[in-house]
Symmetry: C2
Subunit: 315 residues, 2 copies
């Protein structure tokens, strides 16, 4: 039904492409064909909004991923920003710049976006389509949260936790850069990441004090929490949960993880998470007093230097 309203938009190549995309999305589309989308934020909830651009040649390479995977990842990366705020998705706005050869296979692009939006329970509410030399996807996600969780609430004595297992995307990219096929255990972590939306809301209900998604990798993103909360973080390297064949050090600098790093009140012990979700939740450290923005990695009680990006794309 909703897809019909797109069909009223009028003639032209752009509208034809939008219609072809909307046909793939079906009831995911919520659009009235107006100048802007109209949505409702439940009373008592706050609006959470984020925008994120993926540019061909900058954020991804066409050779490494299918068009569907590129679109899926761009959408999931944005939804992951909502997850990191413990927000529930209420709308996706898609600004896509695409070359003519991509227009021919617009259905693949639509399917990648649709798959991620469907997994995230996020209606598609609007967008803008433009021709251009290379693919550029700007995904804007809107969400609602009764009490959004930011980066600035970590308190001394809180425990530090991470969802899932790290290192997969980094290992996959290392293999691709070396001209090798990534292992079956690493590739899906790169080509098909999952936004931890439900996990984030559960953690917020358990009292999460700060949260961030690991889009830049553990060592970089931990520093964002430390800086925003004016605390230091101690991380036990050996406790970092890793995918097979990846060292904890490599995992700490693997970006585009879309797992969550979260600080929890001291009394939280992780109980209940395993019954709800299929991924692990692992305690990897503690919030301590210290100079703002400091992240201290410990190996066997000894401090080790794991500078952000240090281990990037190396074994």
């Amino acid at each position: 039904v909703n897809a019909d309203s797109w069909a009223k938009m009028g003639p032209g190549v752009e509208f034809d492409l939008i219609r072809r995309m909307a046909a793939r999305w079906g009831d995911l589309v919520q659009d009235a064909g107006d100048d802007a989308a109209v949505l409702d934020v439940r009373h008592g909830s706050r609006l959470v909004a984020s925008t994120d651009t993926s540019v061909e040649g900058v954020h991804f390479r066409r050779e490494w991923l299918s068009l569907q995977e590129i679109a899926y990842r761009a959408t999931t990366a944005s939804l992951s920003d909502l997850a990191a705020m413990a927000a529930e998705p209420i709308g996706l706005l898609i600004a896509a710049t695409i070359p003519a050869n991509v227009a021919d296979s617009i259905e693949m692009l639509a399917d990648g976006i649709g798959q991620a939006a469907r997994e995230g329970g996020c209606p598609i509410v609007g967008g803008d389509l433009t021709g251009g030399d290379r693919i550029s996807l700007t995904m804007t996600v809107l969400g609602a949260a009764p009490a959004p969780v930011g980066r600035g609430g970590a308190k001394v004595g809180d425990s530090l936790w991470v969802t899932g297992r790290l290192g997969g995307p980094g290992a996959a990219v290392r293999a691709l850069l070396a001209g090798e096929l990534p292992s079956a255990e690493h590739l899906p972590r790169f080509s098909h990441p999952v936004a931890r939306l439900a996990e984030a809301r559960w953690l917020a209900e358990q009292g999460a004090t700060a949260m961030i998604d690991l889009s830049d990798g553990l060592s970089s993103d931990a520093r964002h929490i430390a800086a925003a909360s004016a605390v230091a973080l101690e991380i036990d390297v050996a406790s970092i949960p890793c995918v097979p064949d990846v060292t904890a050090r490599a995992a700490a600098s693997s970006g585009e993880e879309y797992e969550l790093l979260v600080t929890m009140p001291d009394e939280f012990d992780g109980a209940g998470f395993n019954e709800q979700f299929e991924i692990p939740l692992t305690r990897i450290g503690t919030v301590v007093e210290g100079p703002a923005a400091e992240v201290i990695f410990l190996e066997g009680g000894e401090r080790v230097d794991l500078a952000a990006g240090y281990d990037h794309f190396s074994a």
Copy 2:
């Protein structure tokens, strides 16, 4: 104060550029440095959202406009979509792709965005900055409206009105394409359009039944209202308000106007508008029964063919 939170984001070229932009924006910036922005939609209002991309070489030419004007126009074009819904802006998200030489003069880009956001009363709540070959600006605007005005509410018997005077942008582009300097009466309409935010809200309060901004030009956009409302529109060509030295026919196909086309209840006579606003509000036609999507242009009572785009860029 808020700009300080951007300064907490961490090191890196991208963050440096964001800090330089935020410094120009001052208290326009509302950002907590989290994964996503948090906003509030007043209880009783609905959320209105739109995204819009401007790409160098597709939507604008660097030779015709300064960096500041390019950024100003991209921001105003988005705000105009909120105006067309009778919404009050509550937040702007900026996704900017910029080449290295633009990074050097990022302050000009920031100033153009800041000027438009300040004119529209719209806080800057988030964004994403990326390197690339050419400038691409995706502006996402969020607004709130107690009763958003769409395109689908026009009723037979309603009157049809337009704000301001049309034809300026079209005349300016014609001159630029001919290698001439646009006249002082046309150029500012192209380089410095204004989103009719306050006018739109006033018209909504007077009972506006359908509204659209003239981003594609009167003949195209009138068709959108006709299609969405399942009515026909009769427009008296002679009554179209034009800037000097532009014919009504040329004005009817001049795009990027960012004036409003609005249908009003029969009893509305325009009274009160002139006391509030400096631009004219002109009745140009009537909503009539007829095949959906039909727009009938009349000259001296005779029907004339003003196909959308027909008069584009010709005198």
